[in-house]
Symmetry: C2
Subunit: 501 residues, 2 copies
């Protein structure tokens, strides 16, 4: 176990948490306490307040020294000028680690910088590692620890995040949670007076709860260490990065935000490529990539089949595959012959495999067409990955249509038809079978949800089954190409290592 | 009034509709009838069936000639081989226009092509204009006409669409409807044996109900006419196009889909630019652009201010503005001084205008900060457009958090706080004030919704007030740049026309 893992144990797995700056009035510390309680933290919580005896239903202590046990983690949300004193208390009480929400430090100028250095000096003396100041906090869903200031409680999962922007990080985590991505650990690293992004990358790299890593970067403080820990990390798990400040307007803004030097975008790009990092193009692509890497297996190569019930979709998907360096293969004769056995005569006889609307579950079409077609594509050694149009749920449209119809006997007829499953009623069975197939063959499938209704139950079944869905062919092809790039990086590393170069 | 407008009158504004191929069993014609009924069509509907007397609660006629009045529009959904005969009936009955759902025509080979030509010959004899064959139908929300085969009933509005892909067109229309975009007319043009995309562009260009036009193109059949009608159209209203088949993989797929020649993408791109068309990059961008053009005023120039409560967002937005050719202006001294009057001392003092979390409605911050800041930016003649981070709704997060807390007195305290509006309870008032400001100054504002919850009521208020929201800074900057490009095109046309060149 490396130093960083043992050092951050108190931070991520505290048995108890003290919080300075919470009260019974609404302020940032109180919101932090609320988040801690609502997150369902499994250990003890000690609010510290000079006068209050009870805060939000918990026993409050006037001093840290009055708490019953030794404190693992202290959350500090007091005015900047009082932070050194609180840190002194933490040192005296033998606190393991701190998270400092308080702002007005190095981000506001020289005076704040001096104060920040003082806090660091005190902490070093007591061997306390801390996150911040000027940060929004940390999360570890392994122990239900949500030490965040803005009531962000993510879905639990296998993705860990370090973000140099607290707002962007927390809000995006909630957004991704709503889209089915689960999180393990989260850190808003703030001014990084002590612990830096690189430390968390090193930690996540060795963390068992973390399968996929993500970092939002404004500017790296330790370039060499960043490269080293990133290279080590990507040997074990995918690492996605979104870098702000890639233009001169953006890097000016970054300098003003946390005082970090954004540096040349070309240098960052080279470092990312060199260390096998998947670079996200924006905050929406970031969520798409996280979803892809956390749900899908890696493809073996670039040969793609496109499966669709609509010709327009197939055309767009083919365009985007080519733009993303994927190979829309010429469909082998044996696959065409197999598909000819059951597809209607007017299917496309090529790739994109366009079975037309007759293949859709809707319209009384043969519901097994999707399943049988996809099985052939999944089985074929000539195909490395599949992009498909997510089945549209005509049943829900019909249900909505029925609510607009006043004629009783039409409603009754349609309702009977819906119940008998003649009309796409079997959609749920269909997607379950698709998930089963995908699991059997461990070949990546990415779907495009043109319909935009991510709340459709069938879509959740697909995503939970490891088949991520995206809002456009562009993103589906882009994510698939990033999965392949990472696989190629791993293969190259293996080759170099086997060859002892 | 041009020929096309009078010719298509029967198609879009029929007083009655006959439908061939509907029955009491589920098939495509029946789905068409269901859509027609559920759409709430204001005229008479005559199902035509050789044996049935009543279909879905409506009186059915054994022959077209038995219907009580002259028929304006006939929907044909019978096997391909029977279409010529049905078209003969339509000619004999003096039908005004037809929509042919039936497939198995030119898209499947030579025999189908001959059949299609026969249908065209018959129709020409009776001066019947028709859409299709192999199409999904048409919509005109002005008269609640939803003559579509797949139960697609869009939100009513000012956008009209012609799509060479029926599935992509209808599904995207539903997706956009759910995102608050309203539609007026829709056409799935199918094989375009008679009426072609160009005809609908010409029609929409003169149509009073249409403020924004969109076309999904696989391949244009009449290039010269397309250029002419598009140039004419963009004089009056914005015209957005998504072109499939921009790569060799995509154009191969297009050829196989509707037999259309996709042609060189460079030629299309030049034609689009030459005629002031805004080109969408994919099916998701298409919806973003339609939303932008249908909701936002056009900016006067490229000078942009970025308004944010989070530094990371500001950095990304600045990057994307620069990448999209927008000018993230240096904030004029007078604006900085005005903002200094009420912003906290640690605001960014530059563009992006980062007021930090203290400016958010949340956390007991001063709720008027957004309103006062945005007013200054809207008033300033130095700024042409604003990109801002949509306010996040911490209230809904707190409500969710409360549902996880079992301690009674915390719940009670929080609930009291929420009710008094101390904690972002005033968000709705805030967005209403932002809408009022935007309407007063008629300056484009585009928001970025990092939170991803488009269903938040406050976001609907913004969008209905002409402030479109997007899922990423990339799309916000991209849409704003497309609005500006169109404005610059219009300015250039005006200059050329004034100068009599």
């Amino acid at each position: 176990m490396s130093d960083i893992v043992s050092e951050l144990d108190c931070l991520f797995y505290p048995k108890n948490v003290a919080i300075f700056g919470a009260s019974n009035k609404i302020k940032i510390g109180t919101m932090g306490l609320l988040t801690l309680i609502a997150g369902g933290f499994k250990g003890e919580i000690y609010p510290i307040h000079p006068r209050e005896d009870n805060i939000m239903g918990l026993t409050a202590y006037h001093k840290l020294s009055e708490t019953p046990k030794g404190v693992d983690l202290a959350i500090i949300s007091v005015p900047a000028k009082n932070v050194p004193e609180v840190m002194e208390d933490c040192v005296d009480a033998g606190v393991g680690a701190c998270v400092i929400f308080s702002s007005n430090f190095s981000e506001v100028g020289e005076e704040g910088k001096r104060l920040e250095e003082e806090v660091l000096r005190v902490a070093r003396r007591g061997k306390i590692r801390f996150v911040g100041p000027n940060c929004m906090g940390i999360t570890n869903m392994d122990v239900n620890l949500c030490a965040l200031m803005n009531v962000s409680i993510p879905k639990r999962g296998n993705v860990s995040v370090v973000s140099q922007s607290g707002t962007l990080g927390t809000i995006s985590m909630l957004n991704a949670s709503a889209k089915g991505v689960g999180f393990n650990k989260f850190v808003s690293s703030g001014n990084e007076a002590d612990l830096r992004m690189e430390d968390f990358i090193e930690y996540f790299s060795q963390d068992e709860g973390t399968d996929v890593m993500f970092a939002f970067i404004e500017g790296v403080r330790g370039g060499r260490k960043f490269l080293d820990v990133s290279k080590e990390a990507t040997r074990n798990k995918p690492f996605i990065v979104l870098k702000g400040g890639s233009t001169s307007s953006g890097s000016r803004a970054a300098r003003s935000h946390t005082g970090s030097m954004a540096g040349s975008d070309g240098i960052y790009d080279a470092i990312f490529r060199q260390s096998g990092i998947a670079r996200a193009s924006d905050e929406s692509d970031m969520i798409d990539l996280i979803k892809g890497f956390s749900k899908s297996p890696l493809p073996k190569g670039r040969r793609v089949a496109i499966y669709t019930v609509g010709g327009g979709f197939g055309i767009l998907a083919a365009d985007e595959c080519e733009k993303n360096g994927l190979d829309v293969i010429k469909l082998p004769e044996d696959i065409i012959e197999e598909l000819n056995q059951f597809l209607p005569p007017f299917w496309s006889h090529g790739n994109p495999i366009d079975v037309t609307a007759s293949g859709a579950a809707a319209l009384g079409g043969d519901e097994s067409i999707d399943e049988r077609s996809l099985k052939i594509l999944l089985e074929s050694p000539a195909i490395d990955g599949i992009i498909f149009m997510a089945p549209t749920n005509i049943t829900s449209r019909i249900n909505r249509a029925m609510s607009r119809i006043s004629v009783g006997d039409i409603k009754e007829m349609l309702s009977t038809i819906l119940k008998t499953g003649m009309l796409g009623g079997a959609l749920k069975d269909q997607v379950k079978k698709i998930v089963e197939l995908k699991e059997r063959y461990e070949k990546p499938m990415v779907g495009v949800n043109l319909y935009g209704e991510s709340e459709i139950e069938e879509y959740k079944i697909l995503e939970e089954g490891g088949i991520p869905l995206y809002g456009s062919t562009t993103q589906a092809a882009h994510v698939l190409s990033k999965l392949i790039e990472y696989k190629e990086y791993l293969d190259k590393q293996k080759f170099l290592s086997d060859a002892n170069i």
